[in-house]
Symmetry: C2
Subunit: 363 residues, 2 copies
DNA sequence: AATTGGTTCTGAACCGTTACGGTCCTTTCA
DNA sequence: TGAAAGGACCGTAACGGTTCAGAACCAATT
């Protein structure tokens, strides 16, 4: 049986006895040829099964892919599991649909150092969301000659950036807890580097953390509590590689095992905090009466639980990143956008029970 | 100032005095050249700022894009707003990350008939998720010479399909309600066609619905209740274009306004059902004592609310679609996969208060 | 009659890469 | 020592388009 090679613009032109230019114009510039000829071209195309100009060949010539790439240092599916990531993506998708641009989720398996996926991505730009600053995928993106926006990353000075003041926001939250009288605290945080460490964190590791967001949140905490006279090096900080409620629970358990006297459990995300609350409940600790628990992000589930947290505009962050990337006329790169956060005092934080500090502030 | 044209594989080869093939091999087939030369190529590339082979040009030549496209007939951001869509996408993303493939979200604004986005998508295949069967974007996808998997669509016979037995599952749910004694019911369903109709639906419109899923769910209901002696044409069916809880609430309100005597409110999705429950509560109707409410999908929020519903494996659906698409062994195409569903009897369904017969004589 | 202007179509030059089928030279082995 | 094998590299031909500067033609204007 004869395997017919698929029709191309050239074969169509040959069949019609016109130039390739004319066929191309039939699709892209209808005003450049007579309506009759255009109809004839399109009809013949249908008859020959020509599916229209090949998008890849077109991209090569026009230097436009019509898509932006999203890099996040997790398995692709994480994008649809984590509430904050989902919010970010929704915002990014909003910006993309405004511009009629596609959104390519680039697979970047953190286990492997395989950056081929970044090299293979046919995109007009990249958004990089919360990856460690030493991620080889990030390095590969920065080498690509396309505009890039990093999000929740340190300011690289060379590419656009969107983020929040993690350090300041956490400092403010810490001040709230300090004001309530908390001095003996524990912390549960997300992964600080690419290597798995489900355990306590040394101050060194905190300081050298490769995740900008986590590093700054911890640093905000350290600053506030140090100012309040707390020896930060004695504060138990449990790190968890996976970001889910189970991790929050086990992290809380580890901290509470180390120091059952703590009056507040500060988590660097709402998901972890919700997990921590289940662990508190398991131990018969009432929140906030027996222990204060706080989060970070302002996700829906946290809101419903009345979590004391820092709300950050995840959707706006995504949208801002997309707009920055797709805004072509702005020639003032690199730009840096900081979004506002809001301290949410819920009902999971209160003064420590019978704490000595309570006396100093009075009712 | 001299605008340096970006380096290409050819210019790099010229600089090095080797052939383009060799430079290409340095990147793609390290075994084809000596390690020293390879190092020299890579070093020179770095020096010249050559970012590695252009992905688009490579795609053109190799006829591989390294990505699959996802078409869903909503604004892009809907993918991150709807729980069922999120689950589907997570499954699809899992399949993609297994294959090291990217996932391109193709913008398909349902308002405009602009299918250019489909034409511009540089992908190796498409997954089409729950679009109306007359959607021009779907037609455009089917014209592209790449493998396609449709999901929650009628079996087209020409491309792979993944789905569930919507009709059978809803029939079973209806039988459950009939068994409880419900005869006087109302329905809230999702959009049935591309035109916005936030109101009641005629049997004709139900029958001609362009959304396969909704058509079959309604048809399953109609069959079961007709068998139970209910005149389906008299059953109020409220359609809502937007799929969210507000729609569920307003749809329920419309149905309840039309017939306050109904004993069960059947919704074609959990999201609508959750909205319907808020409306019931607003009216002081206790669920299930005063009214039964049911959903479809089996989303987390519904589970937490104890919703009576049909659970469908949304994640598995996405994964199956991805696997079908990425499975290169295409001897057996087209394939059709039906996934199992499960009737979940929650605590939002019960026998009508005072029995069905009493209803006929009024309260 | 020459000029102008507009429409319609063409030819050729790219876009940057990889597949294919070699060549050439060095080893290896009987 | 001659033949076969294998490593290293190369030249050519696509891959399927878009773009731009004209050419050819015709009608209207000067």
């Amino acid at each position: 049986m004869h395997v017919r090679r698929p029709a191309t613009l050239a074969s169509l032109a040959a069949e019609l006895g016109v130039s390739r230019t004319t066929v191309s114009n039939a699709y892209n510039r209808p005003d450049q040829l007579s309506p009759e000829l255009r109809r004839r071209v399109l009809d013949t195309a249908r008859r020959l099964g020509y599916p229209g100009p090949d998008p890849v060949a077109r991209s090569l010539r026009t230097r436009k892919a019509g898509a932006v790439g999203l890099l996040l240092t997790e398995n692709l599916s994480y994008a649809f599991r984590d509430p904050a990531a989902i919010g970010f993506l929704e915002g990014l998708a909003l910006a993309c649909e405004d511009a009629g641009t596609g959104l390519l989720l680039v697979p970047a398996n953190p286990e492997r150092e395989d950056v081929a996926s970044v090299h293979r991505a046919g995109v007009d730009g990249f958004v990089v969301y919360s990856v460690p600053d030493d991620d080889p995928h990030l390095a590969a993106v920065l080498e690509r000659p396309v505009p890039t926006v990093v999000c929740d990353q340190p300011d690289l000075g060379t590419v656009d950036r969107v983020g929040i003041d993690d350090r300041g926001a956490m400092y403010e939250l810490a001040k709230h807890l300090i004001g309530l009288g908390h001095r003996r605290i524990g912390v549960v945080c997300m992964r600080l580097a690419r290597d798995r460490n489900d355990g306590f964190v040394t101050p060194d590791r905190q300081h050298a953390a490769h995740f900008h967001v986590q590093r700054n949140r911890l640093s905000g905490l350290a600053e506030a509590f140090s100012e309040a006279g707390v020896d930060w090096s004695q504060v138990p900080v449990a790190e968890r590689f996976d970001h889910n409620m189970v991790s929050g629970a086990s992290g809380a358990a580890q901290v509470l095992d180390r120091d059952p006297q703590i009056t507040a459990l500060i988590c660097t995300s709402d998901v972890l905090a919700l997990g921590a609350m289940t662990e508190a409940a398991r131990r018969g600790l009432r929140v906030p009466h027996d222990i204060t628990v706080t989060g970070f992000d302002g996700i829906r589930a946290g809101e419903e639980a009345g979590l004391t947290t820092v709300r950050q505009p995840v959707l706006e962050k995504g949208r801002a990143a997309g707009k920055l990337l797709l805004d072509t006329n702005e020639r003032t790169r690199p730009r840096s956008v900081n979004l506002a956060t809001e301290l949410i005092i819920g009902n999971t934080s209160a003064a420590p029970r019978g704490g000595a500090d309570e006396r100093w502030f009075g009712p």
